[in-house]
């Protein structure tokens, strides 16, 4: 239960943070809220040589810029959960943030940390992909914008280079006839998810399906975008039958392994159930339906 020794550097600015990270070498890690990294250090799974603390580089920040929600990487889950701005622009982000860990974890854990950690059962990566978020990262080399669906590689692995730190996340706000829903299946509140589903539905003028984005998480090594599977259902009403058929198709195609909590068969069944529920709920959130 005790972390191995490491050097600690409290960064005063982003410039400071990226140069400290570059100097500290490949075994250094960035810490913000530390709600995933510190347990891994306590268990001896992670043994960084140095921690670069970005906790005071920026503050939690939620801004609406026209059609985009801009979040500082240090925005905490509790900020997302209770923000009216988030509930209005990206309601499933608030929904998902409220399901993370427990109240203490949500007061420390940050969106930048969750995305960079790339834990396969994490909630926010699914939302980021479904919302077509852009993740901004910087290093001593400069800044880079990464589409969320290009960020996650496998367990705890992203396309961030060793010297890069996430600074901001941008999510296009819901517009016009869009609605969304996030559902998580876990044994108990706060447990690791067995299945995560993020659904974002766009309806046409006649309230028929225009686009459905469906992201399934926790069933494999990274969240998977199944939006393509919705193609054949465009123009259909989002009712029980359509939602069930689309969900069945997603469940059939999804890469699903067993976990310590559930068999692959059970999780496949649950993907079908939860995708259906999420689609119907998301369609029900569309203004004017």
């Amino acid at each position: 239960m005790y972390a191995a020794a490491f050097d600690y550097v409290r960064a005063a600015s982003w410039d400071d943070a990226v140069s400290a990270l570059a100097q500290a070498g490949d075994d250094a890690r960035v810490i913000a809220g530390g709600q995933s990294l510190v347990p891994m250090m306590a268990l001896g799974i992670a043994q960084p040589s140095a921690l670069i603390d970005i906790g005071r580089v920026d503050r939690p920040r939620i801004e609406r810029r026209d059609g985009t929600l801009v979040l500082s990487a240090l925005t905490r889950h509790v900020d997302l959960e209770h923000s009216d701005e988030v509930k209005q622009a990206c309601p499933m982000l608030a929904q998902a943030a409220g399901l993370i860990g427990n109240v203490r974890v949500r007061h420390r854990g940050t969106i930048g940390g969750s995305l960079a950690h790339a834990e396969p059962t994490a909630e926010l990566p699914c939302v980021a992909i479904a919302h077509r978020a852009t993740v901004h990262a910087r290093s001593t080399e400069g800044e880079r914008a990464i589409p969320a669906d290009e960020l996650f590689v496998t367990h705890f692995t992203t396309t961030l280079t060793p010297g890069e730190i996430i600074t901001n996340v941008e999510l296009p706000a819901l517009r016009g006839r869009q609605g969304s829903c996030f559902i998580e299946l876990a044994r108990r509140p706060g447990d690791f998810a067995m299945v995560n589903v993020a659904a974002l539905v766009t309806l046409d003028e006649a309230s028929r399906l225009d686009e459905a984005r469906v992201v399934v998480g926790a069933t494999s090594d990274r969240p998977a975008d199944h939006s393509v599977s919705a193609g054949p259902f465009v123009g259909e009403p989002v009712d029980e039958r359509t939602a069930a058929e689309l969900a069945r198709r997603v469940a059939g195609e999804a890469e699903i392994g067993p976990s310590s909590h559930a068999t692959a068969e059970y999780r496949r069944e649950m993907v079908a159930v939860l995708v259906k529920r999420a689609l119907i709920a998301a369609a029900g959130q569309v203004p004017g339906t």
């Binding site: 239960m1 972390a3 020794a5 490491f6 510190v38 347990p39 203490r104 974890v105 007061h107 706060g190």
Partner: protein, 162 residues
Amino acid sequence: MSEHRISLIVNGRERELWVDAQQSLLEVLRTEGGATEVKLGCGEGVCGTCAVLLDGEPVNACLVFAVQADGASITTVRGLAPEGELHPLQKAFLEHAGSQCGFCTPGMILTAHWYLERHPEAGREEIRAALAGNLCRCTGYTKILDAVEAYRDACQEAHIGS
């Protein structure tokens, strides 16, 4: 390894301490902060026995390195009432047998108090959800909820009476 000079305010009392970077806030509070009421349970942020308020917000003291908390004000369950006195919520736990072995009690009371301050009208199910991250292996939770509800009712009556 690095050593750091930090300052902490623990239940209103200021302390200057030398800490190693890898020392958790929990360890420092227990060994040098005079706060043994903060308990080490799981060490992974799950059980809630090490819950403290950091600048007024609940955190896992086991998942914060002390050096990260430099300059912060920490409140433990002992900070709820003057030295030697019991807070009314602590009394409610005694009256309703909301504490058996007592290990979860500091975190449980601190979290319940923090939540009720913000949600004085909370119902039983909301209180249950607020305490979902604090594990108790003795009481079965029923008596804890009874105690918290009794305290909430007493606060409401006092409020109406004043």
